[in-house]
Symmetry: C2
Subunit: 196 residues, 2 copies
């Protein structure tokens, strides 16, 4: 039932024992969402973390009427409004569904109980936070040190699924430019590639 979730846990904490896994697994709940639906919304407190079994989701903010995409998460990854989850405070962002999704959820209280009961789950939580930290650092660095064109190429290189599966106008806000500008950048890049 939860093979791919277990694979994810084993990769982060190889020392995981069967009985510990059973304790975790027994708390899972499954949730299905269709394209366009919201997993979490602005102002609400995020009360669960979700492993993405299938689908593609997006973090975004609403900034005076327009949506700004902060990141994307495909199947095989965890997703949550993690800053809201950690301190159980209202979230400033939203998560919506770009491709129909099947999620495997753990509630906040379950996570706290697992932390208390299983030291190995502490390690898991630490590694998740460390991974997320590294992801976001690399994004901030990219925003501060690269040009829009370089950021697009970096996304194509490092997160190619985004180019393949996310509409361009959402990618544009992810790299901090308008859809029109991204379209022009792509034309320029295509010309270069075509000539070569």
């Amino acid at each position: 039932m939860f093979e791919s979730v277990r694979a994810y846990y084993q990769k982060l904490i190889p020392q995981l024992q069967d009985h510990e896994w059973s304790a975790i697994e027994s708390r899972f709940t499954v949730q299905h969402l269709k394209k366009g639906e919201l997993l979490t919304r602005q102002g609400e407190i995020c009360r669960q973390v979700s492993f993405i079994n299938k689908g593609l989701l997006r973090f975004f903010y609403n900034v005076d009427g327009r949506s700004v995409s902060i990141g994307f998460m495909p199947e095989g990854e965890y997703i949550a409004q993690y800053d809201s989850f950690l301190v159980q405070a209202p979230s400033k962002g939203n998560i919506d569904v770009l491709e129909d999704a099947e999620l495997v959820n753990l509630s906040y209280t379950d996570v706290q109980e697992l932390y208390a009961a299983y030291p190995v789950f502490q390690v898991f939580g630490r590694k998740i936070a460390e991974m997320l930290f590294m992801m976001v650092v690399s994004q901030t660095t990219s925003l501060l040190t690269l040009s829009p064109e370089e950021r697009y190429l970096a996304v194509a290189e490092e997160e190619p699924y985004i180019i393949r599966r996310v509409p361009q106008y959402l990618i544009a806000s992810y790299i901090g430019i308008t859809p029109e500008h991204l379209s022009r950048l792509r034309r320029k890049l295509a010309r270069k590639a075509g000539v070569a």
Copy 2:
């Protein structure tokens, strides 16, 4: 000797026992750095984390000849090239000293041994990573959703010590603009405030 360090630990992990603290404290080494010196440099592996007892430090990248500031850390906080530290891979960034600093260091191997020996230190590591994650998320969000002027005001609001203690031309790169542009923004803001 390490009162402020202990206060920091107690805040994050109130359950810390005296004997656990002794084990941590016994591994500390103290380091002094003068303004302008480098704590870590590009290409090197970060082998320690440093509590800042006194001073002010800066993360930055060298991008074709110019330095781009990614963040600042004052006394009372931990600092490290944490992405490099975590995976013990060469760092892409640098850390230098803006105000003479006194650091209390823990080496990578000591951290690993403390993780293995004291579950409470796992919790500490998790909370550090979670804090860092939230800091960087808020920075990324600011870069994607705010204008340069709004970002400057947000820094003034949320990290006022930066405005007071960091030279403007370094703040400029931190919010993603040129020093000249920041100077103009500040003039505009001053006029607004003056008229009101």
